[in-house]
Amino acid sequence: MISAASIIFIVVGMIVMMVSNSMPTISRFGLAFLTGSEWKPADGVFGALPFIYGTIVSSLIALIISVPISLGIAIFLTEQAPKKIAAPISFMVELLAAIPSVVYGLWGIFVLAPFIRDHLGVFLETYLGWIPVVGQLFQGRLTGIGMLTGGIILALMTTPIITSVVRDILEVVPNTQREAALALGATKWETTMIVLGNAASGIAGAVVLGLGRALGETMAVTMVIGNSPQISASLFEPAYTIASVLAANFAEATDELYLSALIEMGLVLFLVTFVVNAFAKLLIMSVASGKAGAKNV
């Protein structure tokens, strides 16, 4: 009871502290802070849009890559693989989730970035770059450091998390659902679709949980995304995320307005990830307790 109360106290206290410390920019820029795309601390110009854009786009890239892969692995582990194979793979997935993000970042700099510069980026530009509109994403200067690299690193980090949550959710789908489908002449794949239907809201929760992780991830992204506050159509260009800009600039932000701008962005990130995570937990809980999806009398 006391610890529960103290957690609420801490959360409320953090919000109050952050709001009061970001008052200078809140009162001075209002909503323009969130929509402005110019970030020039030396001139007292603070527009957070490039960071918001970078955070959202890098997270979206991460989910576009990691969601199908995670679903595939989780389905393989629960619906297809014999226990002997599933157990070691599950174990490895758990291990991947526990690797410190700075290690992912180092790997990103030394392995992924050169690979994207020399191979993946060239490949994407050749085969997708010519497409009208969408092609713009895959054109431009290839340094290996940029939005795409940041997104792929985030995909690597969210895949183990989403996979293990989805696997847990598929495992609690009652076997009677699989048998019901099989007994009607369903194939293995059709049976899997029934299982996924049972787990739909939990899977959505796992994806949102992964999103929360991607939005807030700091170290690995800071190391590979290029840290340049710009909004560019090309995914090859450097970008910047909220978490990265906070980590990289807090120490040098000496004047009040600069500090206030960083804290306000921290507040935005806090509120967004808080809501995203709460939403994810609710969805996952609803499946685990059998409220949504699989319910049997």
């Binding site: 009677t176 048998e179 007994a183 009607l184 002449g185 369903a186 029934i194 049997n296 009398v297």
Partner: protein
């Protein structure tokens, strides 16, 4: 006697543990056969060998032959998906899908691509619900969730879902064990009604139920078939002492 299902020398193992011993049994077409016996004696295991539902258990091993319409269902040539369409199953706990009432019944029709048009699909769903004696209760709320139905209605929905794929045999594993007496009575009436068109095998631990719905009864104990006779005879003048003891409630 023309057999729909013919089982000979059937042995069944969960890993090293033998669950069924040398079962021989003939199930005639369009009759109701009841399986009775103390719990754990292998009734469900046996029932599930008839549509190869035990295939999903990695350690399960079957030995012997099961012929349906003269075809060995454990032959390597057997199309298990087609077999399960021909031999439907209703489970102990009703297990509707998290879909609407309509979609639950339509599911098997859709995956087996039986419908020729949208209206044909509607007709098939309606027919299955009528045959499962559920249509009047649900016809005004076909698009609402199956979970809104009572336990007995859910079980009849599962029967409708099974009927929709036009099976020839229906396996029922204690279909009324979780239901109240009125819902149970409805299921029993339904079984008797369905006998006109289907061959039915029903597991029950309720002796009166076996007496009311079945033409023949098979009594199992510890994985062995002790006696198989017309239900009338079984309940009035059984051949085996063990059967009599069980029926009169001296054990089990």
């Amino acid at each position: 006697m023309e057999s729909k299902i013919s089982i000979s020398n059937l042995n069944f193992f969960y890993g090293k543990a033998q669950a069924l011993y040398d079962i021989n049994l003939e199930i005639p077409e369009r009759e109701v056969v009841a399986f009775i016996g103390p719990s754990g004696c292998g009734k469900s295991t046996f029932l599930r060998t008839l549509n190869r539902m035990n295939d999903t258990i990695p350690i399960a091993k079957v030995d012997g032959t099961v012929l349906i319409d003269g075809e060995d269902i454990y032959s390597s040539k057997t199309d298990v998906v087609a077999l399960r369409r021909k031999v439907g199953m209703v489970f102990q706990k009703s297990n509707p899908f998290p879909k609407s009432i309509f979609e639950n019944v339509a599911y098997g029709i859709r995956i087996n691509k039986m419908q020729t048009s949208k209206s044909d699909l509607n007709d098939r769903v309606e027919k299955a619900l009528v045959n499962a004696a559920l249509w009047d209760e649900v016809k005004d709320r076909l698009s609402s969730s199956a979970f809104g139905l009572s336990g007995g209605q859910q079980q009849r929905l599962c029967i409708a879902r099974a009927l929709a794929v036009e099976p020839e045999v229906i396996l029922m594993d204690e279909p009324a064990s979780a239901l109240d007496p009125i819902a149970t009575q409805k299921i029993e009436e339904l079984v008797v009604e369905l006998k006109k068109d289907y061959t039915i095998v029903i597991v029950t631990h309720n002796m009166q139920q076996a007496g009311r719905v079945s033409d023949r009864t098979a009594f199992f104990m510890l994985g062995k078939l002790i006696e198989y006779n017309p239900t009338q005879k079984m309940f009035t003048n059984p051949d085996e002492r063990l059967t009599e003891d069980y029926i009169t409630g001296r054990f089990g």
